[in-house]
Symmetry: C2
């Protein structure tokens, strides 16, 4: 039996990887309690016990999904940090919004999983939050809102969180917001990016000029 504490990424064509991928999609769509082991097995096209064989209990699988996601987010943020290092603040923000939106629009489950991780308790106790705290602190420093990641003022963190949340929201909620705006997929994506830049950049540009 394969280890359940496996940290390495799963090959997407392996059974273990296929299960993880389906779990991510379904957990993102219906939440932890909204997904049954039978739904998962059916989605992958396998028997329930095969699922248990690879990942153990439902909660273990959920935790694996969150750990995997967390790892991916961390990588993405580092990538962005590398891209904008040394640039002007408004340019940094613009690139960050652009890149995060592009990625999250292609992985809406990721945004949904993070949202339910922030907002939702579950009586079945998968308290596996994505460890976003460090990332927020890093971004705050990168944006010049703080001098050192160990001492970031609450105000600075709150400002970063506002940006972060706005991106997560529009990507996670596309199915609900897009009909509301009456636009197609491509239009939605460009309107969202435009709006986020329009709203978020001026505030920070001003504070950086001051």
């Amino acid at each position: 039996m394969p280890s359940r504490l496996e940290k390495a990424r799963q090959a997407p064509d392996s059974m273990k990887g296929r299960i993880l991928e389906a779990a991510r999609r379904l957990f993102g769509e219906y939440g932890f309690s909204g997904v049954t082991t039978r739904m998962l097995a059916k989605e992958v096209g396998i028997d329930i016990s095969t699922l248990y064989y690879h990942w153990g209990e439902k909660q273990d699988l959920y935790e694996a999904v969150m750990a995997d996601l967390s790892c991916e987010i961390r990588g993405k943020l580092r990538e962005i940090e590398r891209m904008v290092r040394g640039a002007a603040l408004s340019h940094r923000l613009e690139v960050a919004i652009e890149v995060m939106c592009d990625w999250l629009f292609e992985h809406p489950e990721a945004a949904k999983l993070m949202l339910s991780s922030y907002m939702g308790k579950s009586r079945s106790a998968p308290d596996t939050h994505v460890p976003i705290k460090e990332h927020i602190a890093n971004i705050a420093v990168a944006m010049g809102l703080a001098l050192d990641t160990a001492h970031v003022p609450a105000r600075a963190n709150a400002r970063v969180l506002t940006v972060w949340n706005s991106v997560i929201n529009f990507t996670a909620g596309e199915d609900f917001f897009r009909p509301l705006l009456g636009v197609n997929r491509n239009e939605y994506r460009s309107v969202v990016k435009e709006t986020l830049k329009f709203i978020l950049i001026p505030a920070f540009a001003r504070s950086s000029a001051a």
Copy 2:
């Protein structure tokens, strides 16, 4: 047996009202699938069948919760509209943020319910979204982003949605964000308001001056 299509608000001391209140709290906290009829009954301190007697199936109760919430939101938005009618745009925004935050901080389940209504599908089909579309359009007109509620550009709606979502997020996610900022309840509330005003007002003030 009382009608299940009852539209009027329930007296908060009646059994039907107490059940609705508990349902709102629990559905907000754990989501539709995360709440069992037994949890609900226990929360109110009654038997399961009493619950069924008053509200029928679980889905009916959930829909009642959402309808009630929707009604309350509508009232709150009208109240805000009345308060800021005729004022300058930046003042309108400030008051709207202030009042909505105050109310949602006192009713965090409301914010959580709306979020899960936007983001989450459920296989048990309570597709009862809060009809936010009209409200967003009204706000857009009130903010001078559109001339008439029937023809609001997607851009305008998207901007209003950004504001709306930011407020919802910080109020719904207090339990997660507050430890992250390392502040107490009162500090959190004031930091959130300050941050929202700091970020959201400049963008609109600029566009209004142009």
